[in-house]
């Protein structure tokens, strides 16, 4: 941080021998804003980021709370009240062709879609960050080998392998998550590896190493925090892609199976009867698009906030 220089005037005690690495780090942090304080400040002043985070909270909270308090269950049928439109009595979003409450179903579906997306992305992160971290930090032949493996896996079209796995395994939430992350982690691995490789050669890592910090400590204290920004952006942008994959699988009949419902299954069910009952497509579409839009815009905003090149 170049601009900290004039704020921290040199004083004799800065040149006293350090007792421990901790003391050094405390001194080095100085009075300037820490990375996270700075990020939090930028986040608050970014309107898009605020709105998107609010809608993430609404989507997550709503998908947990509304199916509980709506008074209906996801698969509860009411054959006397089928295909009701918007704002029908007792059914805010109407009912579907066998009288299930759309309000409950769409919030429940949002929950399932988010669960799938979050889990897939977390597995991607876990495998990808560890793999990429080891590869980038070790370097040399190991790195070469590990990256060649990634090159090969990344060459396999993701959707093709996902479909293949879905055919072989029993359809369900876990299957979608596993199928998605089988290939999905490679992107994260490449990203983390590139970052680690870049940071590994930087002066402050060299300084840490000279001070005798262990590799584990360097990874945890120096490399990870500085890679985190880019990882978070990548995670945010992977969520819509996972939701999209789930919706796609649902459309070709490999999605979650009844009695479960996701935004993808709801939308593809709605699309088939769309001419007669447009609301059955409209409701899940709005939720699906709003969810994807939210995460896409949030990812963009976070990139602006966290990208070091964007800092003034």
């Amino acid at each position: 941080m170049m601009h900290d220089h004039d704020e921290n005037a040199l004083s004799p005690e800065l040149f006293a021998p350090a007792d421990s690495i901790q003391a050094l780090e405390d001194a080095a942090q100085g009075s300037g804003l820490s990375f996270w304080q700075d990020t939090a400040r930028r986040l608050r002043s970014n309107k898009t980021a605020c709105i998107c985070m609010a809608s993430v909270v609404i989507l997550v909270a709503g998908s947990i709370i509304f199916p509980q308090i709506s008074g209906y269950t996801v698969s509860e049928q009411d054959l006397l009240n089928i295909n009701l439109g918007f704002f029908s009595e007792g059914h805010l979003f109407g009912t579907d062709e066998i009288g299930r409450d759309m309000f409950t179903r769409v919030w429940y579906g949002t929950g399932i879609s988010l669960t799938i997306a979050f889990s897939a992305v977390l597995i991607d992160l876990l495998i990808g960050a560890v793999y990429g971290g080891i590869s980038g930090y070790t370097g040399g032949r190991v790195d070469e080998m590990m990256m060649r493996i990634v090159d090969i896996i990344i060459g396999i079209p993701q959707l093709i392998i996902v479909i293949l796995l879905m055919v072989v395994m029993k359809p369900g939430i876990a299957t979608i998550i596993i199928a998605y992350s089988t290939v999905g982690w490679t992107g994260m691995a490449r990203l983390v590896r590139g970052q680690v490789l870049k940071l590994r050669g930087s002066e402050y890592v060299l300084a840490s190493r000279l001070l005798g910090a262990s590799p584990a400590r360097i990874i945890a204290r120096d490399l990870l925090p500085n890679t985190l920004g880019i990882i978070i952006v990548e995670l945010t942008l992977t969520i819509p892609s996972a939701i999209f994959t789930e919706a796609f699988l649902s459309y070709i009949g490999l999605g979650v199976q009844i009695p479960l419902a996701s935004l993808g299954t709801l939308a593809s069910d709605g699309a088939s009867g769309f001419l007669l009952h447009p609301h059955l497509l409209m409701v899940p579409t709005v939720f699906l698009s709003a969810t994807m839009l939210t995460f896409n815009l949030l990812g963009d905003a976070l990139r602006d906030i966290l990208d070091p090149r964007m800092r003034s």
Binding site: P157, Q158, I161, V167, V168, A247, L254, M292, L293
Partner: protein, 322 residues
């Protein structure tokens, strides 16, 4: 010479990738529970044994794998179960041209409009034009194609074309099919829309980055016209990141065609693939999967090679400089 070595290396990787895909497919199909001859009807053990021998299933796994590889190399992908007696290769040969036609149109549409919209948005940064394009792009990456397809089919093919039919006596956009030009407008649009959005976002970002570079300043201060600065210096550099994603993009378009062909009833390969997945028609699934895989790996390879010719600064040895 270095370039040649690089291309050879990429080619080798592509081959390994295809081999991995082929092998994974084989073993996935073998861990499947069940047995092709365990149907509803009880088959006597002797007959089942005879069937095993006929189809080579009595041999050790490794021999079966060898036969499987050999058959693929010979271009024999077996017969479809659902379309009885039809070799998978023949179904692919008959249906793929439609998918290819659709995909190519979608790709061209996404590339041309995506690149132009990205440039316009970047040059008008912060102004209403930029905002409108970016909202359009955000919608593009947020609406799945089966939803967009259903909506456009309803509003353009049914409502609007119904109206033109009533007033002018012709249908503007037919509901489905793939023969006349008017049928070939909406499906490529639906298929390419998401990729158009991605390309325009990417193009906007890279144009903005290039515009800030020193060589653009130099070009301006040399007194070059704005037109030359944009056409010769900005776009040529800014388009490189877009070229690198063309491989994955064509993959997305090809797989996206499964859905679009289904909606608009285009007799392409995607429709067959989806129906074979739903019917668990294994020879079809394996055959089409391999075909798609090989096709996409080849497309990626092509993009890689193309890139070495477009970008003179690329680090050909494959080492990352950053």
């Amino acid at each position: 010479m270095i370039k040649f070595k690089y291309i050879l290396k990429r080619f080798l990787y592509a081959l390994i990738t295809v081999w991995v895909l082929v092998t994974v497919t084989f073993f996935l199909m073998h861990i499947l529970p069940g047995d092709p001859f365990l149907g509803e009807k009880k088959v006597p053990d002797e007959i089942r044994q005879a069937l095993y021998v006929k189809y080579g299933l009595d041999k050790p796994l490794i021999v079966q794998y060898g036969n499987y590889l050999w058959n693929i190399l010979r271009g024999d992908l077996g017969d479809s179960i659902v379309y009885v007696g039809q070799p998978v290769t023949r179904i692919i040969a008959e249906t793929f041209p439609y998918s290819f036609d659709l995909g190519l149109r979608a790709l061209a549409f996404a590339f041309i409009f995506g690149v132009s919209m990205g440039i316009i948005a970047a040059l008008k940064r912060g102004r209403p034009t930029d905002k409108i394009i970016m909202i359009f792009a955000a919608l593009g990456i947020s609406v799945p194609s089966f939803i967009l397809g259903s909506l456009l089919q309803y509003y353009l093919s049914i409502k609007l074309s119904g109206w033109t039919n009533g007033v002018f006596g012709f249908r503007l956009f037919p509901v489905s099919g793939w023969e006349t030009l008017s049928q070939k407008i909406i499906p490529p649009f639906v298929l390419g829309f998401g990729q158009l959005a991605l390309i325009s976002r990417l193009m906007r970002a890279s144009t903005l980055e290039v515009v800030g570079q020193n060589y653009i300043k130099t070009a301006r201060s040399k007194g070059l016209s704005e037109r030359t600065v944009i056409m010769r210096h900005t776009i040529r550099n800014a388009i490189l990141p877009v070229v690198t994603v063309m491989g994955p993009l064509s993959a997305a378009i090809l797989t996206g065609a499964f859905v679009v062909e289904n909606i608009f009833n285009i007799p392409g390969m995607g429709q067959y693939f989806v129906s074979s997945v739903q019917a668990y028609d294994y020879p079809m699934i394996v055959g089409t999967t391999l075909f798609y895989g090989v096709f996409l790996v080849a497309a990626n390879l092509l993009v890689d090679i193309l890139y070495t010719f477009i970008d003179p600064t690329i680090n050909i040895a494959g080492r990352q400089t950053d």
